[in-house]
Assembly symmetry: none
Homo-oligomer: 188 residues x 4
DNA sequence: TATGAATGAGTGTTCATTCAT
DNA sequence: CATGAATGAACACTCATTCAT
């Protein structure tokens, strides 16, 4: 208490809790307890629980963008890049106890404008990531955006269903599907 | 109040509310108000809010099974059946204000054993539905289950991302992807 | 359900529960569940929870009177009779998990006229029991009533404190005190 | 509302209510109404109703210890000290509308570990008080502890039965018994 | 910047009792 | 004689937020 970085500690604690239990199932009290902060300090740093949620989503988005950027720039073939991203999903699901996509999960619970914007911009970035990989293979040919979106959806389905079923096979199933779509696009 | 069929009214009200707002954001008070029942009447018919949730999921599962059965038995080609199911998704999303999959949404908020079972058995049924269609095309050849699961994931991704983005394109994108996977399987 | 003797079953179930948990901590639902009766059947046989409580106290009073009568009539010296009654207390406390005196316990929770009457008449009977024993030793001499009451109080204290402490020593301590009082009365 | 010292007011209100009506018959609502506090303020200061009960018992224990200490240190003979303590009981019972011993009454309704500890430690203190008086008369002779316990039980019985019967005679009866035991011990 | 106390409105659940059949 | 469904009021407890210091 009284330590500096209260904002950081709140953000970290809230992030863990929101992710593990879901926005609606986490109370301010739980957050500040874990962050070892006073309640009023919370409202000094964040306008509301919802505002905190936005900041959280923004924060993890930035982190995940870094990871995607490094994959994009890695000396790998496009297919290998897809494979690497899917590998990372496996790890993530196991580490996070199959809690799935923070954006989709939050979307199921929160209606607020600001939160929805974070969700949309994250999803747009993800689609762009897949589009960039596809274009590394096929150039800016027609249909690359559509292919990227198909990959995006399959990937998303894997995240969702791995969470629903608490199983890992959806990731591998999605890997196959994505590679099939990838190849089929080349064979047009 | 004092009318009969309280159970039905509760179930109907809860169904709408759970779907629209999400389990955690719906209170018993709101449910009984909409159902025009006393609170104690609620607990005469349902052991707990969670128990009601289970009954709700079971109920809509049974209804959706009927719809899938009638598609399976319709005089259509397998590809047409997939198309019809995807058409229905479009309608559903528009009617439900893009609230997505009740099972996935609930899974994001509830940890209970009983609820998870409902989710798992619904998802299993959906995979079986796709498997049945795939087998109508390809017989019981090796890999039909894997193909069905890929379709399942892509379909699931469309539902999730249509909800996230409040847009309909994921459905059409998934339709293309699913047909591509379907064809590619035949071309092996 | 639907079996005969519903009244008996309710009375038995309520007795156990009232004794073990205390009147205020037992709900009608728990009683009828244990008695395997419908709720409306309960109110067919008993006007209210409080009325049931009265009947229960009356019932166990009658049973305990039988036990005291048999001690009074047994071929023992007065001192032995006291000893026997105190022996029985030890057994009772161990069997009942040290739940103490149902009358005193109920008195701590219920204010009703009817219940208080049961309590008072039970306590009067107990005082009479001790008085009868004392008179068997000392005749109807002056002060026998006062002695009986002193024994009564010491006995009561043992019951209360054995419950408070979940220990058995108060019974033995009371035994000594009672015998001391008994002897001292003779030595006047 | 909004006044300071909510904790004190809650504790005072709860003390009165618990004593008069018994723990189980007092609701949080009644307490906060009497204390003129918001419900959430209650839980700012006390973890639970049970926790409040513990604090209450601790508080009145400390007060009663003060009274006993002042008797112990008063310039009186041991017998006079016993008499004074018994006098105080008379007053207490009349003032409290014969509600008896808060510890025994609470013990009849609450099973919690923490509460039972308070009860046990209070009873231990009371036994020590009687032991101290006995030792002031007889020194640390053998059997002083046993005598103190006999006095303790008789005293306890008077409290219990005065409550049961709403009468004052048990106090005077116990006074006689206690003095008899006290004298008889000297005559051994 | 940091804090603990305070709050109104809400949570899910249980109470003893009644009523129509 | 028996019953399941219905109820208003109460239960203990938590919510996100504000305020005085």
């Amino acid at each position: 208490m009284g330590k500096p970085n209260a904002r950081e500690r709140i953000l970290e604690a809230a992030g863990k809790l929101f992710h593990q239990q879901g926005y609606s199932n986490v109370g301010i009290n739980e957050i500040i307890k874990q962050a070892e902060t006073a309640k009023a300090s919370f409202y000094q740093h964040f306008e509301s629980k919802e505002a905190l949620c936005e900041v959280w989503l923004k924060t993890i988005h930035d982190l995940s963008e870094d990871r995607r950027r490094s994959i994009i720039n890695a000396p790998l073939t496009p297919a290998e890049k897809l494979g690497k991203y899917i590998d990372a999903l496996s790890c993530y699901l196991m580490e996070s106890d199959f809690r799935g996509c923070p954006y989709s999960n939050t979307c199921a619970m929160v209606e607020s404008e600001g939160v929805m914007e974070q969700i949309k911009s994250h999803k747009a970035a993800l689609r762009n990531f897949f589009k960039a990989i596809v274009e590394q293979e096929f150039g800016e040919a027609e249909g690359t955006g559509a292919l990227a979106d198909q990959i995006f959806l399959t990937y998303s389905g894997a995240v969702t269903e791995a969470q629903n079923l608490r199983e890992l096979w959806p990731v591998e199933s999605a890997r196959s599907a994505i590679l099939t779509l990838f190849s089929a696009f080349g064979d047009r």
